[in-house]
C-alpha cells in the first residue's frame, strides 16, 4: 500500500518535535478553558473552547504516534504488522499510518469547527450532523487528495480569524489581537502545506511552530495579567466608582 510522506528526510524528527510542542500548547489552552468552565458553569462556551482545543491536541498526538511508527518502524508495529499480514489485510505500518492520520485530520477539523462555531447562534442538530458528515468526508478523502484537508483547515482558520477580528473591533483587546495573529499564521501554514514539496513542507512546519509559540505567549500573558490584576485590584468593577449606589440583590 502506498504511503505518501512529504516531509524531507533531513526534517524527519523535527516535525514530530514541533507537533509535540503544539500538543503541549493546545493542552494548556484546553486546561485553561476547562478550568474557567469549572469556575463558572453557566458559561458553556468555556467548555466548548476547551473541547475544541482538546480535540486538536489529541489530533497532534495521533499524528505524533503515526509518525513515530512510520519513521522508526518500531518493534511493536512489526509484531502487530506480522499478525495483520497473516490475515492478508494490509502491510504493517499502514495500520498506524492510516488510522493515525485519519484521526489527525478528523480531530483537527472537528476542533477547529468547534472553535469557529462558538461565536455563532445556536444551529440545529441536523446542521451539526451535516457539518460532521463533511468533516468526516474531508478527512477520508484527504487520504487520496492530501491537500483537501489543508484546504479545509485553511478556510476554517480564515473564518476563525475573521470572527476574532470582529470581536477585536469591539473590545480592542491586545490579547485578542495576538489570537488573530496566531490563527492567521496557522492559516498561512496550511496554505503552504497545500503547495508543499520538500523544503516548503519544512517551512510550513516552522510557520506552524511560530503560530503555536505565539499561542503559548498568549497563555503565559493571560496567566501573568490575571495575577497582576489580582494584585492591583483591577478586577474590581464597582468599588470606589459609585459608592452612593448600593448593589441590588
Amino acid at each position: 500500500m502506498v504511503r505518501i510522506v512529504l516531509t524531507p528526510d533531513w526534517f524527519m524528527g523535527f516535525d514530530i518535535l514541533i507537533e509535540f510542542f503544539s500538543f503541549i500548547v493546545l493542552a494548556i489552552f484546553s486546561f485553561l478553558s476547562i478550568q474557567s468552565y469549572r469556575m463558572n458553569r453557566s458559561k458553556k462556551n468555556f467548555m466548548y473552547v476547551g473541547i475544541g482545543f482538546g480535540l486538536i491536541a489529541f489530533a497532534q498526538l495521533a499524528s505524533i504516534l503515526a509518525k513515530i511508527f512510520l519513521y522508526y518502524d518500531i518493534t511493536v508495529v512489526q509484531q502487530v504488522g506480522s499478525a495483520i499480514i497473516a490475515n492478508n489485510v494490509v502491510n504493517s505500518v499502514d495500520i498506524f499510518y492510516h488510522i493515525g492520520f485519519f484521526f489527525y485530520r478528523f480531530l483537527t477539523l472537528a476542533g477547529l469547527y468547534m472553535i469557529y462555531q462558538l461565536h455563532h447562534k445556536k444551529i440545529s442538530f441536523e446542521n451539526y450532523l451535516l457539518f460532521a458528515y463533511f468533516i468526516v468526508l474531508s478527512a477520508i478523502l484527504s487520504r487520496e487528495i492530501y491537500y483537501l484537508f489543508h484546504l479545509t483547515a485553511f478556510f476554517i482558520l480564515l473564518m476563525i480569524a475573521r470572527n476574532y477580528y470582529r470581536i477585536y473591533k469591539e473590545n480592542k483587546f491586545a490579547n485578542t489581537r495576538i489570537l488573530i495573529t496566531s490563527f492567521s499564521i496557522l492559516a498561512i501554514s496550511q496554505l503552504l502545506f497545500i503547495f508543499s514539496s520538500g523544503t516548503l513542507q519544512a517551512t510550513a512546519n516552522v510557520i506552524e511552530l511560530i503560530s503555536y509559540a505565539l499561542l503559548l505567549f498568549l497563555a503565559i500573558k493571560i496567566r501573568k495579567d490575571g495575577k497582576k490584576k489580582k494584585q492591583d485590584g483591577d478586577n474590581i468593577r464597582y468599588v470606589g466608582r459609585n459608592s452612593a449606589k448600593r448593589r441590588k440583590n
Binding site: 490575571g226 459608592s243 449606589k245
Partner: protein, 87 residues
C-alpha cells in the same frame, strides 16, 4: 461570583485585612447583604475573621485566606480568558 471576587479584591487591596465596615462601604453592600456574603465566604474558607480580636466587636477584622487568594487569581485569569476569546 462577581460580588465575591470584588469583596476579596477589596480585602487584598487593603493588604489582605480589612474591617467589616470598610468592606461594606468599599464593596457597595448593605449590612445585611455583606453579612450574607461574609458567611458564605467564611464557609468556603475564602476569608477568616481574625481570632485574636474576636472579643472586641469593634476590632474584628476580616482576612483573606490563601484559598481566597487562589480563588481571586483563578477568577482574574478566567476574566482575562473570557475577554480574549470574546466569550
Amino acid at each position: 461570583m462577581e460580588i465575591i471576587s470584588d469583596m476579596l479584591g477589596v480585602i487584598l487591596q487593603k493588604g489582605g485585612k480589612i474591617k467589616p465596615t470598610h468592606l461594606m462601604y468599599k464593596a457597595n453592600l448593605s449590612h445585611k447583604q455583606m453579612q450574607g456574603y461574609l458567611d458564605e465566604l467564611e464557609k468556603k474558607k475564602l476569608v477568616a475573621k481574625n481570632d485574636n480580636e474576636k472579643e472586641s466587636k469593634e476590632k474584628i477584622s476580616i482576612q483573606i485566606t490563601p484559598i481566597g487568594r487562589q480563588f481571586l487569581y483563578k477568577y482574574s485569569e478566567m476574566k482575562e480568558f473570557e475577554k480574549t476569546f470574546g466569550l
